[in-house]
Symmetry: C2
Subunit: 343 residues, 2 copies
């Protein structure tokens, strides 16, 4: 009897914790999804090995910018979480862009691209910065001329687009970059391990942080596979942050939709690997995750988070750092005298 009683008592003491961990996992799985360990399929663009290899070369090739010193990787640096040092990017002629570079990592899972979602997918996105006068400042015609003048690219485009008569086009340039970017996913974060049932992935603080993240309302916007990146919301839904964080001149999605209700609306930031990506927000003016969480509490939840709660939420956010893609620097095609010169 005594023994059975002890056992029952023991179980009774253990059950609440176990039940709460399981509840937490069940609740989390209803809101989030793990990053897969395989490269996802992309709409209208089969991800082949040849396309990925070509896209990798294009991603790292500064000769696709007018100055020939800026590549995709300059602002979406794979060594630093897929972003640059910020606050906003520096482009052609040392011009400063209006917004922080968004990360390229896991961007294939976003609902649309750019802070305001103005590109529907990565192949549309890839055509933007290369032409933007404050970024790479090139033209589609000059990109095609540059690529066509290097036999290494002529071969690589033929292999990547084997059924096309003239494989070197600006569309195919964008498709190859999209294919490479689809491989830039970061699986196996501790958060993914927790979602998938690991008992050891999270410590107590991280569990409390996840619970707070859901219960306080953060997960209302930051949910799904990318813990954000899948919907549009006003920045300052409760209280607008100061103009240093939310510059008045940048009305976000309003510029895309021309709809009054879209003023200061942005895509919810995807929070995967967020600990690698200071400074925060589209203005890149907040240099610590603690401050970023506090700003979100004020502006989106209308709640001054305690230091303790902030700390716990930050502890949870740090579990979102996944395996970073391991990429071998591509050896780029040799320039010929017919490649347009840098300007």
């Amino acid at each position: 009897m005594k023994r059975i009683f002890s056992l029952a008592l023991g179980l009774g003491l253990m059950l609440p914790t176990m039940a709460s961990a399981d509840d937490l996992r069940a609740d989390a799985n209803a809101v989030f999804k793990p990053i897969p360990s395989v490269v996802p399929a992309v709409k209208d663009n089969a991800v082949t090995h040849e396309k990925v290899e070509l896209g990798k070369m294009l991603f790292f090739d500064p000769r696709l910018s007018r100055s020939q010193i800026i590549s995709c990787n300059s602002c979406h640096n794979l060594g630093t979480g897929g972003v640059d040092a910020g606050p906003t990017s520096i482009g052609h002629g040392w011009q400063k862009g209006p917004r922080r570079a968004p990360t390229v990592l896991n961007s294939v899972f976003n609902i649309a691209q750019f802070w305001d979602g103005r590109a529907e997918d990565l192949k549309a996105q890839a055509k933007g910065p290369v032409q933007a006068s404050v970024e790479m400042n090139n033209t589609p015609a000059n990109v095609v001329a540059t690529l066509s003048a290097m036999p290494g690219y002529v071969d690589a485009f033929k292999k990547a687009f084997p059924r096309e008569k003239e494989p070197i086009t600006f569309d195919n340039f964008a498709k190859a970059i999209e294919a490479f970017e689809a491989t830039l996913i970061t699986p196996a974060a501790r958060f993914d391990q927790f979602l998938e049932g690991s008992e050891t992935a999270f410590d107590e603080a991280e569990k409390k942080g996840l619970r707070l993240f859901m219960d306080k309302g953060c997960a209302a916007c930051h949910n799904g596979i990318n813990v954000g990146g899948n919907g549009y919301y006003p920045f300052g839904v409760i209280q607008k942050p100061g103009a240093e964080i939310l510059p008045l001149g940048d009305k976000g999605r309003f510029a895309v939709s021309k709809t009054a209700s879209d003023e200061y609306v942005f895509r919810a930031a995807p929070l995967r690997n967020v600990a690698l990506r200071a400074p925060y927000f589209h203005s890149g003016q907040v240099w610590s995750l603690e401050q970023a969480v506090a700003v979100m509490g004020d502006s989106q939840l209308g709640e001054k988070l305690t230091d303790e709660d902030t700390k716990l939420i930050v502890a949870f956010l740090k579990t979102l750092t996944g395996e970073q893609p391991r990429v071998e620097m591509p050896i780029l095609p040799v320039r010929t005298k017919d490649v347009p010169k840098p300007e």
Copy 2:
């Protein structure tokens, strides 16, 4: 008798070619040396795995520049022969440097570093661009502060310099970069295979090109393991090229030695992988190897090379392209809020 006669005749016909190939190889081996397949030792700086890994991170980290967007790899791009697109590099604030970036590949074999040899080795060289106001525009103190604020670097310096109490110093920063750069060698060029006895490495044109390269006098300056990079010579020893190629304001080694005879003296360009590195010369104003060879004929040899000879010499120069180093992009230490901000 008839048969023996035929055999003798056959041998007679074959022998001159065989002998000439062997003579060519013997002559070449008296002047040049193959690139080794192992990383060479470096003076006063043991090349350890830990130092190389640290040096690789430093080489790729743009946060070591004042703007935090320029890394060593920006101008010494490992994907394009260890140089940038030229003519001269663009640095902090979009300033243009006075000379073309020299290649980092095989630079460990040069007699000294920079076009004028003003740095005696790679650890001395590594301290230059990071401080130059037209390049990375940083200070040693700010570099040390930046590195010290990232736990990932604190650990990596401890591992690379295990016996030192304060491993993060500007000297050690330079030593780690030197150790990484010592690994950036390009063995197994067809030229190396020829030197080492391969019968199939060179075709007839390439053999003729090598013979011309030695007989015309090119090898008087461009010799040794790097086919150059090991001595100083006046540019325009016979006839000065035009000011677009040899700008009058840049007197080369004269600025280092203050000796009148060093006016317009430069280190002979190392020609390993030269086919990957247009545009040519310290001014970066010559966009084809054919034109570069012709300029050298006029200015250094006082001889107008025929188109045919130029073509053969270029065919030989293309055999100097070796195996390019395969480098995995390092995942860089995470910035903390204590890292100095970009300026």
